[in-house]
Amino acid sequence: MATGTLDTTAREALASACQDVQDAGETDGVDGVRPGLVARPADTAQVAEVLKAAAAHGLTVVPRGRGTKLSWGLPPASADVLLDVSALDEVLDHAAGDLIVVTQAGARLADLQEVVARGGQRLAIDETVPGASVGGTLATNTSGPRRVATGTARDLLIGITVVRADGVIAKAGGRVVKNVAGYDLGKLLVGSAGTLAVITDATFRLHPLAAAHRWVSMPVPGVAEAHAAVQAVVHGQAVPSAVEVDWAEGRGAVSVLLEGREEGVAGRTATVRGLLGDASTESDDAPAGGAAYPWDLAATGDRRATALKLTFALSGLADVLAAATDSGAVLRGSAGVGVAYAALATGTPLEDVRTAVDRLRRVCTGHGGSLVVVDAPSAVKDGVDVWGPVPALDLMRRVKDQFDPDHRLSPARYVGGI
């Protein structure tokens, strides 16, 4: 890890690198770690200057978009500089005819959606965390219900500009959806938690806004019913945009979203209701909770719930739900692709959290997936394996060492202590 000190010379170097450099305040903490300075560059060139100055003085840097998920993952081992990209907030180009948008990383996802909606389009990433930036969304790879139809950030990102830890600006991909020239660095950056490079611009493919939509929901009294309902829908031909499960205390609901043309949606809604049976209902409104994760995002410090992300093969749903019940977890997620989020209530004793994480992880890995502790109180992060076993960790370390040989960026936040 980079081990310089934030002395006067370093401070001066940063101040001349960037329009806006200030001492970190109370609200700038990164999961309990108080940064030295907050640098808020005006553009990509200033991001590069900040990183060059940090490199010259051996300082650690933690990038921040809008700060909505900054406590996720492990706390950084050090954060001399908090690199805040929120001033890079412009949606640069919406080329509606080409179904693409170019944006700066600090733009809020919601603001971008507003811009492209004017042209009848959307970026098919649900806003699961209100106020999130595009860059933060990419760095954490968040996704919501509609990933069933349109995939996740990795499937939608077609071009990216990053600043490396040494201050070099580089881009990959471009403005066209179809492009196999060179390595797909965008995919490497998605979900990399600010440990490889700082994202400053991103280009996405867009989808048309659906003319009509309809939700079909059905209460499920037990594990078997939930599993059967999901299997019926995913192996059907109604082409759902979302197949969600909501689960607490051994029962819950399965909800299906249909999007498309007016009459098409009406017909497909009838098909799905036929698959699910008489107990199903339909509505224009999303089920309670919508795209939100099943924990309180506003809670900080020890008031946080233990937030989990679970992935599993579709056939593992019943086992995952049963394990969630046994663990006292509430769960919500894309049952239709085998991704769910779960929460263990605030104040759950560490021993119980450990047991629950072990049990759920065993079930998920047994079904070809994984469990990650997304966020949790510090005592929990210290007491459990947050990232879990990661295959190919050695290769990941080598990638990190190439991109950031001094381990300057977000040190120790990621898998295997990267």
């Binding site: 005819g97 080409d98 693409i100 996704s143 995939g151 990795r154 990053v162 490396r164 201050g167 070099v168 580089a170 881009k171 990959a172 471009g174 066209v176 179809k178 492009n179 196999v180 020239a181 060179g182 390595y183 797909d184 660095l185 995919k187 998605v190 979900g191 990399s192 989808h207 048309p208 192996h235 031909q237 082409v239 498309g260 043309r261 007016e262 009459e263 098409g264 009406a266 017909g267 497909r268 098909t271 992935t311 093969a313 579709l314 056939s315 991704v339 070809g368 997936g369 994984s370 990650v372 990661v390 295959p391 190919a392 960790l393 050695d394 290769l395 990638v399 190439q402 990621y414 898998v415």
Partner: protein, 490 residues
């Protein structure tokens, strides 16, 4: 025997210990049958060819290569069009065509697990009885293999709606350039840690070799409608395409062919396309019947509004197959109207289509080189076929020039030098036109992480290799290549 020769000898000895006798090829005549892939004008005879039967054999050979510092090149079915599988004269060609088991088809999980030598279309054949298929469908899908698809991130006619190989591969067993086997991704999506799988797919064999691939299976649509639409000009066909996209419809495919391409396809497969058409569109809609019904009515109206003089709906699988036959055989078909041709692959933003097509026509007019246009109109992926007769002196060079100028047009319009055929050997020299030195240097950081010895398909994709010992930004003294006498001062 030189150093390289001794190293190859050592790898050959190791290969003979690991593989059956007929899977180790050293005979000169047999070696020569592997001298090129689908891009036949580059030819290199490899020093050794191995055809491993399983992952352990393959990893063993790669390990031997790593120990001896011998370069190796992976080859699937050898159908690639950019010379990505062009052998190395002092290296090993690792052919995966004998690893062709479909290990598992798991309908409940919407997954199949296959070996790299499995033919693309066979995955769909195995999944269809379960109501599923494998979506990426390159035109060569009857002969190309999944391993090659992974290396090239292959697309196809239907990637407008369904995406490319990278959107359909969720896991792989991967042999690193050191010969170690690691698991990338998984059965479930969103594996924790860096998305190394997303980086490997499309890396053209420069990062390592996959020995098992887990793919996503897609539910067969309830209904498929394929429409063949005749227009007087490519401008009209382009305007119709824009109108369809603007109406919020995402067809499974929109393919365009111009008059010359139609002529070739007619000559080759008698596909009976609309007579006298200056351009045809092949539009495919798929999904739930009620939805397709709606979209079809709208597509038909939009085509009429934009000057379509004939619209033909395929009413049964045989008619649909005939429509697609004309399109999918287009590359080979130009062989009927020209002794030689170059298949180009470039991408432009779709809205630039009319300008770029006119510019290509101008290029053709001024140079006298005929160009037939076949392309995935929905996503702006052009496949101009540049026709020439190699028996005529200078004709090949003139065709090369036009072909290169078309790529320049793509770059000028903010597009890409390759949409699906890859960079390989053929286009490495064009990479600096699309990317800066810093961009290429950054990509090669990945290469250095995966393959520090630079033995996995060296010389492809990047025009200038990066020396992996360097730490960026901290270069001191003479450059290592300079010190080693490998390069002049630079």
């Amino acid at each position: 025997m030189g150093q390289a020769g001794a190293a190859i000898e050592a790898v050959t000895r190791r290969a003979r210990e690991l593989l059956p006798a007929d899977a180790v090829v050293t005979d000169r005549a047999r070696l020569r049958t592997y001298e090129c892939d689908g891009l036949a004008h580059y030819r290199v005879t490899p020093a050794l060819v191995v055809l491993p039967r399983d992952a352990a054999q393959l990893a063993g050979v790669v390990r031997a290569c790593a120990e001896q510092g011998v370069p190796y090149v992976a080859r699937g079915a050898g159908t690639g069009l950019s010379g990505g599988a062009l052998p190395h004269a002092e290296g090993v060609l690792v052919v995966t065509s004998q690893m062709r088991a479909i290990t598992d088809v798991r309908r409940d999980d919407q997954r199949a697990v296959v070996e790299p030598g499995v033919i693309n279309l066979d995955v769909t054949r195995a999944a269809t009885p379960h109501g599923y298929y494998y979506a990426p469908d390159p035109s060569s899908q009857q002969i190309c293999s999944i391993g090659g698809n992974v290396a090239e991130n292959s697309g196809g006619a239907h990637c407008l709606k369904y995406g490319f190989t990278t959107n359909h591969v969720v896991g792989a067993d991967f042999v690193t350039s050191a010969g170690e086997t690691v698991a990338l991704g998984g059965t479930a999506p969103d594996a924790p840690g860096y998305d190394l799988l997303g980086t490997v797919v499309g890396s053209e064999g420069t990062l390592g070799i996959v020995t098992s691939v887990t793919v996503r299976l897609v539910r067969l649509p309830e209904e498929v409608r394929t429409i063949l639409v005749g227009f007087e000009s490519t401008d009209q066909a382009g305007a119709a395409t824009s109108a369809i996209i603007a109406a919020g419809i995402v067809p499974a495919a929109i393919e365009m062919m111009d008059a010359l391409a139609i002529e070739a396809a007619e000559a080759a497969v008698q596909c009976n396309y609309p007579h006298g058409a200056g351009a045809v569109l092949v539009i495919e809609l798929d999904g739930a019947s009620v939805e397709v019904e709606q979209e079809y009515a709208e597509v038909e109206r939009l085509c009429t509004e934009n000057g379509a003089f004939e619209q033909r709906l395929a009413t049964d699988p045989a008619e649909r197959a005939l429509i697609w036959k004309g399109r999918k055989s287009a590359f080979a078909a130009v062989g009927r109207i020209s002794p030689d041709y170059i298949v180009q692959d470039g991408v432009i933003p779709r809205t630039a289509l009319p300008q770029v097509l006119r510019a290509i026509a101008d290029l053709s007019g001024t140079s006298g080189v005929r160009v037939a246009n076949v392309f995935h109109a929905g996503d702006g992926n052009l496949h101009p076929l540049v026709l020439f007769d190699d028996a005529v002196e200078g004709a090949g060079d003139a065709a090369e020039k036009v072909s290169g100028a078309i790529l320049d047009l793509c770059i000028e319009h903010g597009g890409s030098i390759t949409g699906e055929h890859g960079v390989g050997m053929d286009k490495a020299k064009y990479m600096p036109r699309m990317y800066t030195d810093e961009d290429l240097d950054t990509m090669q950081l990945v290469r250095c992480a995966f393959d520090p010895q630079s033995i996995s398909n060296p010389g492809k994709v990047f025009p200038t290799p990066r020396l992996c010992g360097e730490v960026p930004g901290r270069r001191k003294g003479a450059h290592p290549a300079q010190q080693a006498g490998l390069a002049e001062v630079f």
